[in-house]
Symmetry: C2
Subunit: 242 residues, 2 copies
């Protein structure tokens, strides 16, 4: 684990996330913004012990420490453009939660809904994760309200959750597709609404009229969600099979 000569530390994933977010585009920018997003965590065989999660079920939320495994090494810059500031103002990388960091480590507090004991070890069922499918997890810690809630904290340039003033409507095709899929994916309409309310378009997106017919798409579960956006109005077109 420790190499003192070269001053580096090597870690092995203990688990992987299985999430509805199959690509980076469209992933909520913090946990719990899309609070109904379901995911589950499967331990690697070496760590798949019911003992290692004993008493974890008493905590409503857990921290996941993970690797931004799709951020390539060396991809970081001292300054980043957070979407929060419209993509046109730079802040220091350590003043941001950007995935492009010197050490691409992420941490998210997510809701633990249940722990399922399976033949392959415990599976943690989660809600609200803002994490790409197949992300390697390095650590799990309980969220400790008495310590992790800092009531008098001040949040710099991001004092509040990004509010949404977007109005989302579904085409009759999209609505029929959602209703069909809700048999396997309960709450799908709510989930799609929450994802789109985050305005997943790039922060620097050119909103001029010439772009008002552009079709956006993100992969969720096993389909491509397609929509157009005119000002604050989002029109969901369809859920296309991948």
């Amino acid at each position: 684990m420790i190499s003192d000569e070269t001053m580096t530390y090597t870690f092995t994933p203990i688990a992987r996330i299985h999430s509805c977010f199959k690509e980076k585009f469209g992933i909520p920018r913090q946990p719990n913004l899309v609070k109904d997003a379901p995911s589950f965590l499967v331990f690697e065989p070496e760590f798949a012990s019911p003992e290692a999660v004993r008493e974890l079920q008493g905590f409503s939320h857990i921290w996941l420490v993970f690797v931004f495994h799709r951020s390539k090494p060396g991809q970081w810059q001292p300054m980043v453009r957070p979407p929060r500031l419209g993509g046109n103002k730079k802040v220091g990388v350590f003043a941001s939660r950007s995935p492009f960091r010197p050490n691409p480590l992420g941490m998210s507090a997510v809701r633990l809904t249940s722990i399922e004991q399976t033949d392959q070890g415990p599976v943690l069922h989660l809600k609200g994760a803002d994490i790409l499918d197949q992300t390697p997890i390095l650590d799990i810690k309980p969220y400790l309200p008495y310590s992790d809630i800092i009531q008098d904290s001040v949040g710099g340039f991001a004092p509040k959750a990004p509010g949404s003033d977007l109005c989302i409507e579904f085409s009759s095709q999209a609505l029929a597709q959602c209703r069909e899929r809700e048999k396997e994916i309960p709450g799908l309409i709510t989930l799609i609404t929450q994802v789109l309310e985050q305005d997943p378009r790039p922060a620097y997106y050119d909103e001029s009229p010439k772009n008002s017919h552009k079709i956006f798409g993100i992969r969720l579960f096993d389909f491509d969600l397609k929509w157009t956006q005119k000002g604050r109005a989002i029109h969901v077109i369809s859920l296309d099979p991948v």
Copy 2:
């Protein structure tokens, strides 16, 4: 950074903590329990850029992601005995914040009091860190109140901060030594009181009368703090030079 064949991830420290806690014994068990504990963070030369911390000063608190560098590899067990439960009940390692974990990663939210710009780069002045001196820091992130405060969270077997019913008194020698040292270390008496209120003795400590004269010691700053403890009464003996 990434080695896909062996499925491991290697990280390089970006900074080191300089803290008053010179040994593991006596370190507060969560951040902000000893809220006046001062420390500072010095960046490694490669990361010592004023740009990388731009806008960070607007945040009252920051997360430090660090390595429990004194926890030896392979030292973890699936279950641990948290001090919270008196040291006689086991819980899963992932239901604890124990430093003995499969990947010995720690995370602490601490108060950022100021950022000093020096010839060697920015130095972050901190309060409330529960981190050993010289700990390697892998990442710094802003504490985001809107996301990191989870008001409806439930804290399992650790629902509240450990209360202190300890009564701490200083010998006249200890008091004189503190007053002398307060010129360089402002608030030293408060700090020593906060440290001892956490009851740093091992959770499984035998409180029987035969141990009531045992002298405890922890290294703080450049001195050894010595005390005795009888029931809930702590008597601070002296601050001995190391």
